[in-house]
């Protein structure tokens, strides 16, 4: 696979792999079990540029391309998907919209601490009554003097428990067209900003996914991102990019599970031979490797198109749909190859299996992706 990548991209991969193996591999099981966010590693990642992957140098970022970004998310997720989630959401749906839609003052104020990982970003769209249908949001931001008074009930916020800078999707004109939503940036610590309990999740447990509520929270008018009514466009632009990240994450989970399965099939003996000699096991391994490969290729293509400044939204939707579904199949086969041990916490494949499952749900479910892709074809 790497033979199609440039030397720069291969060095990106090796650097991230070395870091993930050394810093994340030893704790991945424990932080999943304890549902603990590993600040000690996150701080190191912040100093190494992981939280500003595509942010320009002058704003404190690493200024890399989308292909590097995909490789980085893939490599982190290969070892620890929860941290892959933290990094992809922060970069693609929190920092990137500020870069794309923020004013110069907003960028100068918010981006540098985010790019260095000193502050963590979050994207707060989903509400109890608005999931796939984002236009169903009920949160409001009503102008009052120099500020918006925001009332919001956001759920399933990735990084929610640790986020400082939150993009909150709101209606500024309740009763008007529901598509006319807006985005305000609210900072933790503002009066009325409340972080709810962590979600007790099936997978991605080391990510502090939680609810965030704003009660009559006063957010300065200057914290409006873009213009009023531009929210849907901001959200969709963010998600186009975010999908490359989720596709990369899925490919990384698949790669990690494949490696575990290969290692196990070599050492486990049944019927007098290593189980890798059994044709049924080989057939699963071949299937897994092919799915991983296809996932990576689709992801890299979407990223490369974005780097070339070409339209990539259809390709990133297809990559996300394919790679997320593939990662469920791959991790399922990895569990199967491990037999009973695969269903036990003794081996990491059960974690990969749980982590993979949600990639088909967040940043747009598979069903919604099929809708989007079909719509793109029937234009």
């Amino acid at each position: 696979m790497d033979s199609i990548l440039s030397e720069k991209h291969r060095v990106v991969r090796r650097s991230v792999r070395r870091f993930s193996e050394r810093e994340l591999r030893p704790i991945a099981k424990e932080i999943d079990h304890e549902a603990r966010f590993p600040w000690e590693v996150v701080e190191k990642m912040g100093r190494l540029g992981y939280f500003g992957i595509q942010v320009p140098k002058e704003l404190g970022g690493a200024d890399l391309d989308s292909l590097s970004y995909a490789i980085i998310i893939e490599e982190i997720s290969r070892v620890c998907a929860s941290l892959g989630l933290c990094v992809t959401v922060h970069n693609s749906v929190a920092v990137y919209p500020i870069l794309a839609f923020g004013s110069e003052e907003q960028k100068a104020e918010w981006v540098p601490p985010l790019a260095r990982g000193e502050k963590i970003g979050a994207f707060c769209l989903t509400e109890p009554n608005a999931g796939s249908d984002a236009t169903g949001i009920e949160s409001t931001a009503i102008k009052d003097g120099n500020s918006y008074v925001v009332n919001a009930n956001k759920v399933f916020v990735t990084n929610g428990g640790v986020a400082d800078t939150c993009l909150i999707f709101v209606q500024t004109n309740p009763g008007a067209d529901r598509k006319e939503m807006s985005v305000v940036v609210a900072e933790r610590g503002t009066t009325g900003f409340v972080v709810g309990d962590l979600e007790d999740l099936c997978g991605m447990r080391a990510n502090p996914v939680s609810s965030i509520r704003l009660y009559d929270c006063r957010v300065p008018l200057k914290n409006l991102l873009g213009q009023e009514g531009q929210g849907l466009r901001i959200g969709l632009t963010a998600l186009d990019t975010g999908r490359i990240g989720i596709a990369a994450q899925s490919a990384g989970i698949g790669q990690g599970a494949l490696e575990e399965a290969l290692g196990y099939a070599r050492q486990r003996r049944q019927f007098g031979v290593p189980i890798e000699k059994h044709q049924a096991i080989q057939s699963m391994i071949a299937e897994m490797a092919t799915l991983v490969d296809a996932s990576k290729l689709m992801t890299y293509r979407a990223a490369a198109l974005r780097d070339k400044g070409k339209p990539f939204s259809q390709e990133s939707a297809m990559a996300k749909l394919f790679a997320s579904e593939a990662s469920s199949k791959i991790t399922d086969m990895a569990v199967q190859i491990h037999g009973g041990y695969g269903y036990s916490k003794l081996y990491p494949v059960e974690r990969y299996y749980r982590d993979a499952r949600v990639t088909r749900i967040y940043e747009g479910t598979s069903e919604i992706h099929r809708m989007v892709i079909a719509r793109g074809l029937m234009k």
């Binding site: 790497d2 033979s3 440039s6 030397e7 720069k8 291969r10 060095v11 990106v12 090796r14 650097s15 070395r18 870091f19 190191k44 100093r47 190494l48 540029g49 992981y50 992957i53 140098k57 970022g61 690493a62 200024d63 890399l64 590097s68 980085i72």
Partner: protein
């Protein structure tokens, strides 16, 4: 202070037949990473400039770029078709010629070994050709006015040497933890290519000194060695099994 670090692009996978070094089959020799770290620490403590030097085909530019991403100031590649097939002596000859051209220098650092050929000969041979003192397997360095105190551990003894510049060291791979590359430094290191490439003429070498012609060692063939593993179950009750196991281990010299 001018520190030169010699690094190699190594083959990642064991060769099946005929060695070909290309972009996707090679990487920076892992034993060179601590050497680069050592050079950066000396520079941070004493100031100066660091040069990464490699001999190899053009694809080796990649490891020099990686060294620059890690923080080295510049890269130099000794590269010429006539260098192909060089053994350790011919390699040392080419490196010594390049180092000579990089004068003035204070320190030349090498790894102790490479992951794809593992002779450990290049550092010592190059130092000999340059006529400078050498200490191998160095694991700690202390700065003094006249040069360095360095330590190495051999046969259970710690040897401490005083060195004056210019000198050469091979650095023990476990002596320092190499730093992580800052993602922000990767782009510039690869995109702004200013690696110097020196051919045989630049190095003032003749074709018979290097490559196949200049190599007294001829590798006739390379094939995978087979490991013979045998599994045997020791019989008897637990006590008998333990006694038998200890006897066998003692007989084989694995325990004293």
């Amino acid at each position: 202070m001018h520190i030169i670090v010699c690094i190699k692009s190594v083959i990642v996978k064991a060769p099946e037949a005929g060695m070909v070094r290309s972009h996707d089959s090679t990487e920076l020799n892992p034993f060179d990473r601590p050497v680069l770290e050592t050079a950066l620490r000396i520079k941070e403590a004493r100031g100066g400039i660091t040069t990464a030097l490699s001999m190899g085909p053009e694809s080796s530019i990649s490891v020099l770029s990686e060294a620059r991403a890690m923080g080295l100031d510049r890269g130099v590649l000794a590269c010429d078709p006539a260098l192909a097939g060089s053994d350790t002596l011919a390699t040392s000859t080419a490196l010594a010629a390049a180092i000579d051209k990089l004068r003035p220098f204070d320190l030349v650092l090498f790894g102790t070994r490479t992951s794809d050929s593992d002779t450990g000969q290049v550092g010592p041979q190059a130092a000999l050709l340059l006529g400078i003192p050498l200490v191998t397997q160095v694991h700690s360095i202390e700065y003094i006015d006249s040069g360095l105190y360095v330590e190495r551990t051999v046969d259970g003894f710690i040897e401490k040497f005083e060195l004056s510049f210019p000198a050469a060291l091979t650095i023990h791979p476990a002596s320092v933890q190499p730093r992580d590359i800052d993602l922000a430094d990767i782009g510039p290191a690869f995109e702004k290519q200013d690696t110097k490439i020196w051919n045989l003429g630049d190095l003032e070498l003749s074709p018979d000194q290097v490559g196949d012609a200049g190599s007294p060692t001829k590798v006739l063939s390379i094939s995978k060695s087979k490991r013979h593993k045998r599994c045997e179950f020791i019989k008897g009750d637990t006590l008998e099994q333990a006694d038998e196991l200890i006897k066998r281990l003692a007989e084989s010299g694995m325990i004293g």
